[in-house]
Symmetry: none
DNA sequence: GGTCATGGTGCATGATTATACGAGGATTGC
DNA sequence: GCAATCCTCGTATAATCATGCACCATGACC
């Protein structure tokens, strides 16, 4: 009985790393980390966390932070840039769209290019928007989660 | 008489006015406005709109706007701009690409942003080209048709 | 210790949402 | 016209989620 708080912390971590489309899927991910609970408990946890079920999986409300536990990666230039300028990230099939403040898209795109993110086919930046073409929809999903983390946005829309 | 687009506009309107906790509740609100459909249809509509089910009811993704209340759809700024500057429209999966005369892309993209088209995740304009990322390939198709109409291009794309 | 209140959980089940399938209408090409 | 196609939607049902209830553990209090 490691505790509810800890479990919810792990749930946050999982949701930020990978797309989760159902509570059953989440249950299995938790089991993989040695935490076994029923779907009913997850239903309660997700409500308490304020998680939303979107067509692209469960999303945490913005402001939810991962327990610095495992996500403690030193801040890369990309992370700093993203956290500073990116205001929103959305996925659509195999394309990721990032929004920034006016005039900042170029800077962010430059850093993304330098970072050499796996699966990224190319970036195209305007004034406040960046399109990222990704090799596959699947990879786009994953990448979006990662980028949301870097940008410290936690949840996508609203 | 494509009730679908109209219905989705009404759904957006309802979701922005009052909390809706279930599709059944939404169904009743729609019925109150004279639109009668089944829960299955709403499930599809909500997915296309990208709506998320949160502990506080259904939420629309940021950027979704109420859209012209159908009646005022006569000659919008978007329609005028599109008809004036857009020379070609093509769809690729979930991305729509519009071509304009040299230097006109920015103007058109600006109007598209203002229009708050349903399903549009973001626009990016160069000099004579505009990329539009759409939430789904399905929605991209529909939107392309609508845009072709606005641009008075008949069957340009495809 | 005994009793009570509180919080967290599983189980079973009700409520809600998603989807496979097919019908009906519109459009296109012949 | 007629067949082929594409859309949209309802029906039926599967899949998923929420919750009433009971149980157990813990801690406060007598």
């Amino acid at each position: 009985m490691t505790g509810r708080a800890r479990r919810q912390q792990v749930i946050i971590d999982i949701l930020q790393r990978q797309p989760v489309d159902s509570q059953e899927e989440l249950r299995q991910s938790l089991a993989g980390r040695g935490i076994e609970v029923t779907q009913a408990t997850l239903s309660r946890d997700l409500r308490e966390l304020g998680a939303a079920k979107t067509p692209r999986g469960y999303q945490l409300p913005s402001g939810t932070t991962p327990g610095r536990s495992e996500s403690a990666r030193a801040l890369t230039p990309l992370a700093r840039t993203m956290a500073s300028f990116v205001t929103d990230i959305q996925t659509a099939c195999n394309t990721i769209v990032l929004r920034t403040g006016p005039g900042h898209a170029q800077i962010v795109a430059l850093e993304m290019d330098r970072a050499g993110l796996v699966g990224v086919v190319g970036c195209l930046a305007g004034d406040d928007t960046i399109f990222v073409a990704v090799a596959s929809a699947q990879r786009a999903k994953e990448l979006t989660r990662e980028l949301l983390g870097l940008a410290e946005l936690a949840g996508a829309g609203r």
